[in-house]
């Protein structure tokens, strides 16, 4: 990886900070320090406020978007981010019309794309571990845009950015995570990134079948993060008044090995005005979207609804990340 933008227009150092992400793979939030995240946030803030312009900084560069699983927000925001930074984009968005449908392996697909001279690969794939495998396969930086139910680090970056923007801080934040915590890829990444901040408390609110995975608990324990598990509806009501943020996740049918299990738990954790009445007036509601029936539309008009702003933040965050990973000035 070049350490500076070789083909594009230099923009000087927008923040005057060292770019700690240049040439790096973004596979897991466990690999990101607080400083790495703050660098992305500061650049994204500048992009949002119009004080930093990254247009054309990736002119002459080539970004591959390999999406072997459905995606709306992540694909579109990476596509728009890369294009607005001036990069050429190669994309596989519909595996049904690519050689993947003919049984081509991920390994071969990546080797083929790499041969087209790409400078970065953004990957979404249903297999856990796929992003790390691809990073070992190719010499160009890989950004994980969702590896099955394992991780979704760029979502966590925009989530924490949203918390920081709305709360004015992340340290000491009390965050409830409700819904499908077991099969959600956003939950592990969010937990790993939050572990970089001081005094964060996490409340996992889910039925036992959908509770957070053991490796996430182990990581939080090792990093000294306080967390608690609330499983019964009464316990959830009890936790609600303590929360700054309630992060809701979709119960994902496709993650259940057994469809009867899915039918048994769907709709059991619904966020509506009634549940919000147990929380503080300024409680922020977040959701990685798409939602099904776990987040009532009646919440949309309340000031507590942060989720559309959260989704919008995907664009400046992914612009900042692509700029930095491809060696742009910090």
């Amino acid at each position: 990886m070049p350490s500076s933008l070789s083909g594009g227009r230099e923009v000087g150092a927008p923040l005057g900070l060292k770019n700690t992400l240049a040439g790096r793979d973004i596979i897991s939030c466990k690999d990101l320090s607080r400083e790495d995240a703050e660098l992305v946030f500061r650049l994204a803030e500048g992009v949002n406020s119009g004080t930093i312009h990254l247009e054309d900084t990736l002119a002459g560069r080539r970004v591959a978007l390999i999406f072997v699983e459905p995606s709306t927000r992540t694909f579109q925001s990476f596509y728009v981010a890369a294009r607005s930074l001036g990069a050429e984009v190669l994309s596989i968005h519909d595996p049904a019309v690519s050689s993947i449908a003919k049984g081509e392996t991920l390994y071969d697909t990546v080797k083929m794309i790499e041969g087209y001279g790409v400078d970065c690969i953004v990957l979404r794939h249903p297999a856990r571990g796929s992003a790390r495998f691809v990073a070992e396969t190719t010499s160009v930086p890989v950004i994980n845009a969702g590896s099955g139910s394992q991780e979704h680090p760029t979502q966590a970056l925009l989530d924490v950015f949203t918390i920081k923007s709305r709360l004015g801080r992340v340290d000491g934040a009390k965050i409830g995570m409700l819904g499908d915590l077991r099969y959600s890829r956003t939950i592990p990444s969010l937990c790993y990134l939050l572990a970089n901040y001081n005094g964060v408390e996490i409340f996992f609110m889910a039925p036992p079948l959908l509770q957070v995975r053991r490796e996430v608990e182990l990581y939080l324990s090792e990093r000294g993060v306080t967390y608690r598990k609330a499983m019964a509806a009464d316990e959830i009501k009890e936790v609600m008044p303590d929360l700054d943020v309630l992060y809701v996740t979709r119960i994902q049918k496709e993650r259940f090995p057994d469809p009867t299990e899915y039918e048994r738990v769907r709709g059991s954790y619904v966020v509506d005005a009634k549940l919000l009445s147990y929380g503080r007036r300024d409680l922020g509601i977040m959701h990685p979207l798409p939602r099904v029936d776990e987040l009532s539309p009646e919440v949309d008009k309340l000031p507590n609804a942060w989720y559309f702003e959260q989704a919008r933040n995907g664009l400046p965050i992914r612009k900042a990340l692509l700029h930095l990973v491809l060696g742009g000035a910090g």
Partner: protein
């Protein structure tokens, strides 16, 4: 003369893996580097099942004639079968070996997570694990899934 020596004579050179729980010798074979074993035409493998044992009641023994188990193999055996005794034999002299624990394991074990990239057919991803002995688990380096050490035998690659 012990019942074991009645069954199979002693060896003058090689490795004797003793105190294997009864009927678990197949796990030992799976944990060895079979390719390296097979490449040596002088190697013989003698497997004893269900031999009487003072310590275990019944046990298995694997004798590897003309094969010295490597340090990496010994560490994995000690992790998965903590009761095992590893004896190196050189010119009839027996030296008991107590290996440390491995930090990593490459191959040998199938990731228990069915959606792990290492379980995707035809993808050339070899499973790799970090050993977290203090937590009693190994962690897949690709997909982070944890596997309890005592469950490893259920996931040995054939």
């Amino acid at each position: 003369m012990s019942s074991e020596s009645l069954l199979v004579r002693k060896i003058d050179w090689g490795t004797v893996l003793d105190h294997i729980p009864a009927w678990k010798a197949d796990q030992v074979i799976k944990l060895l580097n079979l390719e390296s074993l097979k490449q040596d035409p002088d190697v013989s493998v003698i497997v004893l099942h269900n031999v009487p044992s003072k310590k275990l009641g019944r046990k298995d023994i694997v004798k590897l004639y003309h094969y010295m188990v490597s340090e990496d193999e010994a560490k994995i055996l000690a992790l998965v079968l903590p009761q095992i005794t590893i004896n190196y034999i050189r010119d009839w002299k027996v030296k008991k070996h107590s290996p440390g624990l491995p930090e990593r394991i490459v191959g040998k074990i199938r990731c228990p997570e069915t959606s792990c990239i290492t379980n995707v057919e035809r993808e050339p991803a070899t499973p790799r694990y970090i050993v977290m002995k203090e937590h009693g688990v190994i962690a897949c380096e690709y997909c982070d899934t944890l596997l309890e050490i005592e469950r490893i035998p259920d996931f040995l690659v054939d």
